[in-house]
């Protein structure tokens, strides 16, 4: 089974049936189910602790109105984290490398924050289009620039996640191929390439976690502006 570098990014299909739904929902099985016990096993305790701390930290700067989004943010974080981390395993498909998925997450959520802001406090939301203390001459230019930056946000959110993960996976494939091909030819260089691969893997683990966190953090920031 000869692999080309882009097979890993193809949406999985088996006998004509798309497996994307499986790829998106199966990581949920790995997470322990909360039980009705007061004292749980280690895995469940750690999961509960992590989700608690994360949500607490994330919602700290947001006022009470925005706390309605707590479930959305924590579940989004766990979702992205598990998808990204599982994608690092060999022969796995990472759904977050698909631009369609990331845009499907970013655009509705960003639009929701904007609409919430525009409905509840339109003046305050529109006020964000002009930073404080700008010289009078620059105001029209700045408004246009800020509007553009506002509309770029969903694009940036989606593409950031896609690009980071795709680039990371592709790099891993390339450097692994380099090490593999060099092994019979120049073993010493292959060894160095393997070291590079190890470091890159560590980086990818970090990137997987950081990108998930950045996605959710930016959304919370957008919410903070509008709520």
């Amino acid at each position: 089974m000869a692999l080309n570098f882009f097979d890993q990014f193809m949406s999985p299909v088996f006998l004509g049936l798309p497996l994307m739904a499986l790829a998106l929902t199966l990581p949920w099985i790995l997470l322990p189910t909360p039980s009705s016990r007061w004292v749980n096993n280690r895995l469940l305790t750690l999961q509960g602790w992590f989700i608690n701390r994360f949500t607490q930290q994330l919602l700290l700067p947001i006022n009470t109105q925005g706390h309605k989004w707590a479930l959305m943010f924590s579940s989004l974080m766990i979702f992205l984290l598990s998808l990204n981390m599982l994608g690092l395993l060999p022969y796995t498909f990472t759904p977050t490398t698909q631009l369609s998925l990331n845009m499907g997450l970013a655009v509705p959520l960003w639009l929701a924050t904007v609409i919430v802001g525009m409905r509840n406090q339109p003046t305050h939301s529109l006020g964000h289009l002009l930073p404080e203390g700008t010289p009078t001459l620059l105001i029209p230019v700045l408004i246009v620039i800020e509007t553009i930056s506002l509309f770029i946000r969903p694009l940036a959110l989606g593409v950031r996640l896609t690009a980071n993960l795709t680039a990371g996976h592709l790099l891993i494939q390339l450097i692994a191929t380099a090490a593999f091909v060099l092994l019979p030819l120049m073993p010493a260089v292959a060894l160095m390439t393997t070291m590079l691969l190890l470091l890159l893997t560590l980086l990818e683990v970090a990137v997987a976690m950081i990108q998930a966190y950045v996605f959710v953090l930016l959304l919370s920031l957008y919410l903070q502006e509008n709520v």
């Binding site: 089974m1 000869a2 692999l3 016990r37 007061w38 004292v39 749980n40 096993n41 280690r42 895995l43 305790t45 750690l46 602790w49 690092l88 395993l89 060999p90 022969y91 891993i172 494939q173 692994a176 191929t177 090490a179 593999f180 393997t194 691969l197 190890l198 890159l200 893997t201 560590l202 683990v205």
Partner: protein, 291 residues
């Protein structure tokens, strides 16, 4: 092999149907056929149970009542306790049960031979082809194993600590309640002891009050005596004064009368007598001096 199972299950099903019609006999495995192994018996139970479920008017009820296929307990309380530790694993992912399963036939090295053989088979038959993904797999595997080895115990200790803190907080509340209750019991006992000594306290107080009254009475008596004595002294002093004044007055009057009664004739006579007396005295002393 499966035909024998089917035949046996059919026999058992027929027996059950007959037993239910009789309602006196329990379905029994016929003794003349050889007993199957434990794994096959479970299959037999399943098949016969399925047959029982479908057959007869009370088929379903009979199986439900006996709970032959259920594994959990029937009541929710008391809550069944969870196992304290997870299943034992060797090398992190392979459950110990595999080793126990293979031990009777292949001994200690059995599972390892199985693993190695499987790996070599897959490689040689090119079921698994070594490619660049293998390298990627090796590196992520190394990262995962290193992470688990290095941070596993500390993360486990952290999770245990979280649970222990939770339990300790509740335990603290319980201990505090218990200690406050024991303290309350002791205080109550002390109060009861104090109540016993109440009569002694009242006696002492009564004595105190009596002594105070006595002292006060004596003081007042003393004051009265002093006052009376003072008044009497005053009267005495007054009388003395009057007595003395009368005496002085009398003396003065006598002197005045005597002095006024002395006439000039008497005065001359007395002076002349005094002179002659003095002369005689002088003569006498002079004579005494020269003698």
């Amino acid at each position: 092999m499966s035909w024998a199972v089917l035949v046996r299950s059919a026999i058992v099903a027929a027996l059950c149907r007959r037993a239910r019609r009789d309602r006196s006999k329990v379905p029994v495995v016929p003794n003349d056929l050889p007993l199957p192994s434990s794994t096959m018996l479970s299959r037999l139970v399943l098949i016969s149970a399925n047959a029982l479920k479908g057959s007869g008017p009370l088929g379903a009820g009979v199986v439900q009542a006996s709970r032959s296929l259920h594994s959990s307990s029937q009541s929710l309380a008391p809550v069944p306790s969870l196992p304290e530790k997870g299943g034992k694993v060797r090398h992190g992912i392979i459950p110990e049960e595999l080793f126990q399963l293979l031990y009777p036939k292949t001994g200690v090295t059995g599972p390892y031979m199985l693993g190695t053989g499987l790996l070599i088979y897959m490689l040689s038959k090119e079921i698994y082809v070594i490619n660049h993904e293998t390298f990627a797999a090796a590196s992520i595997g190394a990262v995962i194993i290193y992470g688990i080895r290095k941070f596993g115990p500390s993360v486990a200790a952290f999770a245990d600590k979280l649970n222990e803190d939770k339990v300790a907080k509740a335990q603290e509340v319980k201990d505090l309640a218990m200690s406050s209750l024991t303290q309350a019991t002791e205080d109550e006992k002390k109060e009861q002891w104090r109540v016993e000594g109440r009569s002694m306290l009242f006696d002492a107080k009564r004595n105190n009050v009596a002594m105070l009254l006595e002292t006060n009475y004596r003081e007042r008596l003393h004051t009265v005596t002093n006052e009376v004595k003072r008044r009497l002294d005053y009267q005495i002093a007054l009388q003395n004064l009057q007595h003395r004044m009368a005496q002085e007055h009398m003396v003065n009057w006598v002197e005045k009368n005597v002095v006024s009664s002395i006439t000039p004739q008497q005065e001359k006579e007395s002076i002349a007598k005094c002179l002659t007396d003095l002369k005689a005295l002088a003569k006498a002393t002079h004579a005494k001096a020269t003698a």
